[in-house]
């Protein structure tokens, strides 16, 4: 019986590891659909950003209450995972609470800390379910929050609640068994699961063992299954937040990337000697029409997005009823990358499927509404940059399709002919100086 459980466990673990490895490979491949970008500079500054923003949750605390609730879940996740290590070793070795004899009194303290955190996670998840489904918080009800994003968000919270209940049930039955069966190592009294003891006390030892085993298996299989689910879900931010903040921009937010391929052409047009030593820049597509025109960082951004909607809640265009939602830009980018990746994995047409990010997912009306105010970039707790994607799409529309709004085309023409975005005679540019001289003389 004991061996059977061990074999079953090793098998379960192997299947989970296999699926997870495949999923990670797939996601890595999808991110690499994006253009190459060298971000190996300033590693210490990048590490600092990751430590502050991802690990330290710095930007979450712009909204104190959700930040606190989120912190409880986050710390719970980090710390309770130490227990998962024991679960896995117990599962493989056929032991029970492997660490207990070595840690003694400290083990009891540790278990009680875990239980406190489990309660913290439980309470936070319930609060988040209420925030999401009952309270009138606009960003959870925006247009892009269709059935799947809503279900995904609720599923994550419900699964976490169930996992925590499993831990507490396991500990409760375990505590009773400690007095009845030598296999169950003594842990000392546990605060919260201790409260559940009276419920299980009347049960026979054999039924209790079934309850304990069921809860143990449910918890560990639940965690492994959840780990796989996370790779399909917005919840992937728990991992992606780290590389995403590490690689996030170190430049001032106002700076747009220079297109070096254009610089070469402009130098030639202006008769400036181009740098001969530089290899001719690869002139691909100007701007972005599809995910492969974006950088890998843009696509990684999309995988790091947990659809909290803080960007959208701060977006002046969205808040005044325009179609643009920065969160939707990120969701669309991920969906398109997934679509292309899945198609390629099946030997399908991939990028050549007749669809593209611009047009089939994101419309011109959306990108034209952006004021480039950087509110979305500032708001994102994990340093995602929706603005960069919007501006790359605009570059494609302007330079490849000449499809900008008519008034922008007039503005371009004014700059070309009058050297100002308005139609004024260039010779009048300095008239103000004469006016000022006259005014100050009178």
């Amino acid at each position: 019986m004991a061996y059977l459980q061990q074999i079953l466990f090793v098998l379960t673990l192997a299947i989970a590891v296999y699926i997870l490895t495949r999923r990670i490979k797939t996601i890595k491949g999808n991110i690499q659909l994006g253009k190459d970008l060298d971000l190996s500079n300033q590693p210490s500054q990048r590490f600092r950003n990751m430590l502050l923003v991802a690990f330290g949750q710095q930007k979450m605390f712009k909204k104190v209450i959700p930040a606190f609730l989120h912190l409880l879940i986050y710390v719970g996740f980090l710390v309770i995972n130490i227990e998962v290590l024991e679960f896995i070793l117990d599962g493989i070795l056929g032991t029970h609470r492997l660490f207990a004899p070595y840690l003694g009194g400290f083990y009891n303290l540790l278990m009680n800390v875990f239980e406190c955190l489990a309660i913290g996670v439980l309470v936070s998840c319930v609060a988040f379910l209420v925030r999401r489904n009952v309270l009138p918080i606009e960003r959870f009800k925006s247009a892009e929050m269709t059935s799947w994003p809503k279900l995904d968000a609720n599923l994550i919270l419900v699964i976490e609640i169930i996992l925590m209940v499993a831990i507490l049930t396991m500990n409760a039955s375990d505590q009773i068994l400690q007095g009845r069966d030598a296999h169950y190592t003594t842990t000392g009294p546990l605060i919260f699961s201790g409260l559940l003891v009276p419920i299980f006390e009347p049960m026979s030892t054999s039924s209790l063992i079934i309850v304990e085993r069921f809860a143990w298996w449910f918890h560990i299989v639940g965690i492994l299954a959840f780990a796989v689910y996370v790779t399909y879900s917005k919840h992937l931010h728990i991992f992606m937040a780290f590389p995403n903040t590490y690689y996030s921009s170190l430049k001032p937010k106002g700076e747009m990337n220079n297109m070096d391929s254009v610089t070469n052409e402009v130098h030639i047009m202006l008769g400036i000697q181009a740098d001969q030593s530089a290899p001719p820049a690869e002139v691909g597509r100007f701007g972005a029409k599809d995910v492969n025109d974006l950088s890998w960082l843009n696509i990684m951004n999309a995988y790091a997005c947990t659809e909290c909607g803080r960007c959208t809640a701060e977006c002046p265009a969205n808040q005044t009823g325009k179609k643009l939602s920065p969160r939707k830009i990120m969701m669309d980018t991920r969906d398109r990358a997934e679509e292309v990746g899945n198609s390629l994995a099946k030997g399908g047409k991939g990028l050549e499927d007749g669809k593209s990010l611009l047009g089939d997912y994101i419309t011109q009306e959306e990108i034209n509404a952006c004021t480039s105010c950087n509110a979305c970039v500032e708001a994102c707790p994990v340093n995602i940059n929706p603005l960069e994607i919007i501006l790359e799409l605009r570059r494609y529309v302007a330079m490849e399709e000449s499809g900008s709004p008519a008034s922008w085309n007039s503005m371009f023409q004014n700059i070309e002919t009058s050297f100002a975005p308005w139609k004024f005679a260039p010779t009048d540019r300095f008239n103000w100086s004469q006016e000022l001289k006259e005014e100050s003389n009178s």
């Binding site: 106002g254 202006l270 325009k322 952006c370 480039s372 105010c373 494609y396 003389n441």
Partner: protein, 263 residues
């Protein structure tokens, strides 16, 4: 008052001199009737403190910012590289401008194209003048007891982390500085950035500038201070739309300082 001086780089070069700073006026500062007043106020301040400065005058052209934000990278780079040629030709080292969009572009985006200058926005420049005691604001009286609210320009604030300089300038006026609900990093855009200034807004429920003006009016301030030509237009339009132009003024930092100094 002595004759106001507005030297151009060309004049100075002809005389064999180089000014300490180039005042980059910008298109709005040159052509927009309302913003020309800001240019004039800033020139008066420069004259008063006796800084060695010059303007490019007719040689100045659009930095290319609206073209770049609207997606036209070719046009942006044509403008940028031409401007850099002119500025490098005059051996420009330090640039001051009253436009956050020009400021952002010259400071952050010209270096990649060979234009490396120390670039300062006029809010920071004014703050330095006040800190150095070059602008004493003895007059001050007319702002006492008045409420001023400051509208953050996105291209100063989030884009370049300049939040305090304009506020310190306003505090020097001895007025009461009242903040809007959304300010500093959470400042709400006026609606004109990203080349929106040059097109109609997309279909929506409300204009961005109306939303922002309502917020500014809620503070009860009699002056809405701005530090950007686009914000100036959008907030002024918003105040007009709300029919408050008799009681609420939209003013640039330079105008307020010039007024306080009786320039």
């Amino acid at each position: 008052m002595s004759e106001i001086k507005i030297p151009t780089m060309a004049d100075m070069a002809a005389n064999g001199t180089t000014p300490e700073i180039l005042f980059w006026v910008g298109c709005a500062g040159s052509f927009d009737d309302r913003y020309k007043n800001v240019t004039k106020a800033f020139i008066k301040i420069l004259n008063k403190v006796g800084v060695s400065f010059a303007v490019l005058g007719p040689e100045e052209t659009c930095t290319g910012d609206p073209a770049r934000r609207a997606g036209n990278e070719f046009l942006f780079q044509m403008q940028a590289i031409s401007n850099i040629q002119v500025m490098n030709g005059y051996n420009v080292k330090k640039v001051v401008t009253a436009c956050p969009h020009c400021f952002n572009t010259i400071k952050n985006e010209y270096p990649a194209l060979g234009g490396n200058y120390e670039v300062i926005h006029h809010s920071t420049f004014l703050q330095q003048l006040i800190n150095d005691g070059k602008v004493s604001l003895k007059g001050g009286g007319e702002f006492k007891g008045k409420k001023i609210t400051y509208h953050d320009s996105c291209y100063l604030g989030r884009a370049n982390n300049i939040y305090e300089a304009p506020r310190e300038v306003l505090e020097a006026l001895d007025a009461e500085l009242v903040e809007m609900k959304r300010c500093k990093t959470k400042g709400f855009c006026c609606g004109a950035g990203g080349a929106q200034m040059f097109k109609d807004a997309e279909q929506g429920k409300k204009e961005v500038n109306i939303e922002r003006t309502e917020e500014a009016l809620q503070t009860g301030a009699d002056t809405i201070a701005v530090a950007c030509p686009f914000c100036m237009t959008m907030m002024s339009d918003g105040v007009k739309n709300k029919e408050k132009e008799a009681s609420v003024k939209v003013k640039d930092l330079a105008e307020l300082i010039a007024e306080a100094e009786n320039l």
